[in-house]
Amino acid sequence: MLRRTLLASAAAATFVGTSLGAQDVTKVGFVYVGPVGDGGWTYEHNQGRLAVEAEFGDAVETVFVESVPEGPDAERVMTQMALEGADLIFTTSFGYMDPTINVAAQFPDVRFEHATGYKQADNVSVYSARFYEGRAVQGHIAGQITESNVIGYIASFPIPEVIRGINSAYLHAKEVNPDVEFKIIWAYTWFDPAKEAEAANVLIEQGADVILQHTDSTAPQAAAQAAGNVYTFGQASDMSEFGPMPRVSSIIDDWAPYYIARTQAVMDGTWESTSTWDGIGAGMVGIGEISDAIPAEVKASAEDMVARLASGEYHAFTGPINKQDGSAWLAEGETAQDYTDDGLAGMNFYVEGLTGEIPQ
C-alpha cells in the first residue's frame, strides 16, 4: 500500500515536473516568405529570431518555416504551429495578413504578430518599420550620383509599403535633381533571384545607372556589379559584400529588439495587442554605412538627413506635395499623417512627376 502510494506520488511528481517544465519554455514561431538564406528580408527576420534565442537561452524554443507562399498555405503553416503549442507567432510578410487574422480567430490563446499589415485583433498585433525614411536617404543620394538621370526601381507588389518607398525616393531625388526620371518594374514577387537580375539588366539596358530594389535577394546587386558603373542600395539587409561599389548604402531592418521585447511580454503575461511603426529614430530602420564610392559632400548631406530624420526634426513627407494627377496632397509645411484618409498607411497613389500607373 505504502509502496503503491509512493510510486503514484512519484509518477505524479514526474508528471507535474514535466508539465511545469513545458510551461516554463515559451515557444515562439516564425513564418517566413523567403528562404533564410536570401541575404535580405527573411535573413534579417531570422537574425531577430536568433537574437531571441540568444537572449532567453533555454527559456524559449523557436521554430520557423521558410518560403511559405502568401495564401492558403500560410494558414496551414500557422495552424500547425499553433497546434504544436506555440505561444507567440510572428508572420513576416504583408500577404499573411488575412491568413493571420483567420488563424488567430481560431486560437484565442495564441498571440500573433503580423509584420507590415494593418489588421489588428485582440490577439494580433501589427508592427512595421518606416522604411520610407531610408528610401528618402536613398533618393537623396541617387539623385545626386546619377549621370543619366534615369533611376531604375524594382518594385515587388503594388501595396502601400512599396508605393510609399517609391514616392519617398522620388521626392528626394527630384529635390536634388529636377531632371531625374524613375523607371519602375513591378516584379510581382518578393524573392526570385533570376527575375530580379533580369529586371536589373533591363533597367540598365534602358539607361538607368542607379538601381533601387524592393525585392529581397542580392541578385540585382550582382547584376549591377557585372554591368559596372551602376550604383545600388542594400535592401532589408546591409548586403555589404557588394560594397563599396555597386552597393553604396543600404536600409537595414533591425527586428531583434522588438522580437525580444514582445517575447518578454508574453513571458511576463503583459502582452497586449499593439500597433508599432518605428523608424530610424527608434533603431528599427538602420542606414548601412555610406561608402566612399560617392562624393564626400553627398555623403555628408545624406548623413545630415539621416540625423534629421532620426531626431524627428524632418519628416520624409513634408509639403507642398501634389498627387500624380496634380491635385494637392500636402500643403506647404504640412507633414503626412499615418492613418487618416490619404495617410501613409494606406497610400495608393503616386506623387506628381512619376510616370506610369500603379497596376491594379
Binding site: G34, P35, V36, G37, D38, G39, S67, G152, K183, I184, I185, W186, Y188, T189, F191, D192, P193, A194, K195, A197, E198, A199, N201, V202, L203, E205, Q206, G207, A208, S217, T218, A219, Q221, A222, A223, Q225, A226, M239, E241, F242, T355, G356, P359, Q360
Partner: protein
Amino acid sequence: MFGSIDPQLLLASLMVAATPIMLAAIGELVVERAGVLNLGVEGMMITGSVIGFIAAIKTGNPWIGFAAAALGGAALSLLFGVLTQFLLSNQVATGLALTLFGLGLAALLGQGYLGVKAPVFPDWHIPLLGDIPIIGPIVFQHDPMVYLGLGIVAGVWWFLKKSRAGLVLRAVGENHEAAHALGYNVIRVRMLAIMFGGACAGLGGAYLSIVRVPTYAAGLTAEMGWIALAIVVFAGWKPGRLLLGAYLFGGVTALQLNLQAAGLSLLDVLTIVALVAAVVVVSVGFIQNRAFTAKMLWWAASLCIAAAFFSFYKWLGWVFNETLWLSSSPYIATIFVLVIMSSGGAPGSLGKSFHASR
C-alpha cells in the same frame, strides 16, 4: 514606337534568358522520350546551381563549375534512376521526392556561399560573325554556354532523328516490352537517358548561379524546373519546338520587364502588332499569289478585328493588369497547346515501370 526599348538588346537578352530553361528542358525531353517521367528537374537544377557555383568559386574557373554541375546533376538523377529502374518505385512520387531532396541539399551545401560573387565568365565576341551589324550583337556576342545549349539541342535533334542509338531510345520509350523482346537493354538505355537529363538540368542551374544572376541564393531556380517540364509537353517532345518554347517563355519574361521599364502599354503594342501583321499578310500574300485570295483576306480581317478589340478595351479604360497577363501567357499557351494536340505526341511507355520478368 519602341520607347526606350532597344530591340537589339531585347532580342539579345531573350537568347540569354531562355538558356537555363532550354538546357533543363532538353535533358528532360530525352528522359521522357526514353519513357521515364522525372519530375525532379527543379531539384536537379538547384543542386547543379549550388555545386557548380561552389566549384567555380573554389577553382576560380567557371568551366570547372559547369562540369561539376553536370556531374552533380547526373549523380542526383542516378539516385532517381536506381530507385525507379531497379527498385521499381513510382516515378511520379520519386521525382517529387527528388525535388524536395534537391532543394534541401542545395540549401545545406549553399550555407557558406550566400552573397558570394561568381568568377567572371566573359562573353564571346565571335570574330567576323559578331561584327555583322544588328545580327552580330543579337546572336553572336553571348557567353559560350548559350551556344553550348543550342549545340545540345541540335545534337539531341540529330541523335533522336538520325542515329541508330536514338532510334533504340525512342523504341524503348514507345514500347519497352517490344524493345526488350528485340534484345535491347531497356534499363541501361533509361539509366543513360536519366543521367543525361540530370546533367543538362545541372548545367541549366549552374547557368543561373554562375552567369545569369551571378550569385548563389537559396531558392535560386524559383520553380524554373517546372516550367522546363511544361515546355517539354508544349514542344510535343520535339527538340525543334522545344527551342521555340524556350524562347517563347524566356522572351515573354524579357518583353514584360522591358515594356514596364519603358512605360509602354501592352494593349497599344498588341494593337500595333496586329495591324502590322495584317499588312504583312496581305502584302506577302499578294506578292506570292499575284492576287488577293479569300484565305489571306480572312486572316487580315481577323487581325484588324483583334486590333480594334485591343484599342476598344483600352478606350473603355477597364482594369487590365498587363504584368500578370504577360506573366501567365506562356502557361495559357501551354494549356492551349495541350488541348489542341491532347492525345498526340507522348511516348507510349511514358511513366510506366519496366521489369524484364513481366
